[in-house]
Subunit: 117 residues, 4 copies
């Protein structure tokens, strides 16, 4: 793994869209990091509800099953939208944050050194 070369995550254009969207609706004063963290929670709750009564095996079909295919895309999008908006309001670079975390994860969970066939 070499997470230092080019960007792992590029959300620049989404950041700009969300900022313009909030601006046009005068939503900036509602979008404190505290409030956005709560909104993120709400969306994750809606996402989790899609999986709660499924078996693990069934859960792999959530995005293919007609009853949930659109819903799961919408909820994943909502979570990403609030996450990107929260990072943007906090002026956090998500690409840097993810890179740093992956390096820490690689140290915390070293891959087994056994040769793989």
């Amino acid at each position: 793994m070499n997470p230092t070369a080019c960007s792992l995550v590029d959300v620049t254009r989404l950041v700009r869209e969300l900022d313009a969207f909030a601006d046009a609706r005068d939503w900036h004063r509602h979008h404190s990091p505290k409030n956005l963290a709560m909104a993120l929670t709400g969306e994750v709750g809606e996402l989790v509800e899609l999986f709660q009564w499924q078996s693990e095996a069934e859960s792999y079909d959530t995005a293919r099953h007609p009853a949930t295919a659109r819903a799961v895309r919408d909820e994943l999008a909502d979570v990403l939208i609030y996450l990107v908006r929260l990072a943007s309001v906090l002026e956090v670079d998500l690409d840097e944050a993810v890179r740093t975390k992956l390096v820490a994860n690689a140290r915390k969970y070293p891959a087994p050194q056994v040769p793989r066939p």
Copy 2:
């Protein structure tokens, strides 16, 4: 707003890194969508904990304050990592999902038509 031109979100390289990371540790069988949705919940819980006793005004400084600057980046990264991993296992294109959702949001919350100075 014109969310139809080029990609709003590009997580292609992160998807690949996470897949290689899980592969090297034989984690695929743990990474069912159901389990990943739960892991996402746990990380959002840790993120929210950083904001819970703050006022809204204080929450804007979370990424600047030495006591929380690294923690908030780590938790934002963890949420993004599990979200991208979940979408990847479900074979959902996050860019398409976000685009579709933004169009729906624009219809649901029309911007006021008054001219802005």
Copy 3:
């Protein structure tokens, strides 16, 4: 504080109602602790949504405001129902658990010894 005398929490009759309710609908196989923990998450998400755009000051009126009075009661009830059900399936005595936690909390956050007027 003397949390050792009689019960702080009595949910015996609710446990019994929920068990009969699940039994009559053949829900036991769906009610694994893992699934109930997810259902709990979903309900907490719905509860949090009621507060997310409120100021702290406004949040005190949530149970009085006609638009949210019933909703907040319903969501609090849903969270409690899934929590009690989860503890019941795990055979955890919530009264014992709360007592032990309060003793630990009192040690972790000692009350200031200054005399209060």
Copy 4:
């Protein structure tokens, strides 16, 4: 089911303990409903983390397995503590709320009328 006779849930003494606890530490101003809803989220996140990599079958042993027996009790307690505290600050009667919700649930999910062996 007859959820109208005596109380299904009695948390009166816990409400009083929590109020005294907050009072002794001058925590009332931190305990707005908005903040308590966030704290509840954080605790649910910690609870869910205990189950996230388990199979459904394994999850039934969480309160018996030495590695998780205390942790799951502590997290269940934390969720209950913040839930009861939140209801208390909102002046919501949890017993009434649960009763009303159970009646609604019985209407929403009628039990099958087939005789059971």
